[in-house]
Subunit: 183 residues, 2 copies
């Protein structure tokens, strides 16, 4: 019997495919193993538990999101950069709904996740600094931007916008409200 040649990263790859296919709530070790062509217990040679795998997936997603928003703000400054950041955030989530929903509701202590999450937000600080928003003011601003973008996307992905107004326009108005408080 030849080896499957797995690795922690490969397991996360398989987990991401399962997530993309059926949503994060169906992410099960059995599904991942089957997708990787391996028996379920074999996964434990590469990961320590399903809970850890979920966090690894979330960290991977956070890094992808960070790449997306970083690319989006290149060459921009001020309100235009913040708007591009928020649009890219939402675009990633709408392009990969199951991945975005795999972000944990409470995974505060898993280092790679925290790191990836802070990396995706860190791109905002130089932008704000260039606008004269520094120190604690920048932290407050980043929190607001994150809350607005994440909150909007979470509600949209959960089909929370039932009334018939254009959702893109709603988001643009939220962006406008957030960026209006820049100097």
């Amino acid at each position: 019997m030849p080896r499957a040649g797995l690795s922690p990263d490969a397991v996360v790859d398989a987990a991401l495919e399962v997530t993309d296919a059926n949503g994060p709530e169906t992410l099960t070790l059995a599904a991942v193993a089957s997708h990787a062509g391996v028996a379920t217990p074999s996964l434990y040679k590469h990961i320590s538990s399903l809970a850890e795998l979920r966090l690894m997936v979330a960290a991977r997603v956070a890094n992808q999101l960070g790449d997306a928003v970083t690319a989006a703000v290149l060459g921009l400054g001020g309100a235009k950069a913040v708007a591009a950041f928020m649009r890219a955030w939402r675009r990633y989530a709408l392009d990969h709904p199951p991945r975005y929903r795999s972000i944990p509701q409470s995974g505060g202590d898993y280092a790679p996740w925290v790191e990836a999450s802070q990396r995706s937000l860190g791109v905002l600080f130089p932008i704000l600094d260039a606008c004269g928003v520094t120190g604690v003011d920048a932290v407050h601003m980043v929190r607001g931007i994150r809350a607005a973008a994440h909150g909007f996307v979470v509600v949209q992905l959960s089909e929370g916008f039932q009334l018939g107004a254009d959702v893109d326009e709603s988001y643009e108005r939220l962006i406008a409200a957030v960026t209006a408080s820049l100097p």
Copy 2:
């Protein structure tokens, strides 16, 4: 053997107690049954599945949240009312973190949940109307308010605010940004 005198509502009560005690991720039919002093399969006389129970809990929470925000805005108007709404939203979540986290990431089609959720937001429309924000404009505004409040609270409950700035102050600034776009 005397009867336990359960009912769907009583099962939701027990589920809420389990949720409050250990968080929504530990909500299990076994735990609910044990808490209600009954065998696990007996619960199926009152609910149809664990998934449905989760949605029932979420609907209950949404109604409580709606009561809280409705009480908070009584007698207020304009930006003050919107600010009170957002503060009450966050206060409820911080007062009952496990309950708030039991709000589903995707439960778009369960009628009682949708209804309760719309009821808690519906209190905003008369307020906005009194400010001259009507029709589609009001819908956009409500979406922004909800996204900001929910997003902020979700991030805070997941320990997402790692940098050392005052979280209350961050929220007040977000409230200011959102209410600034009122006429």
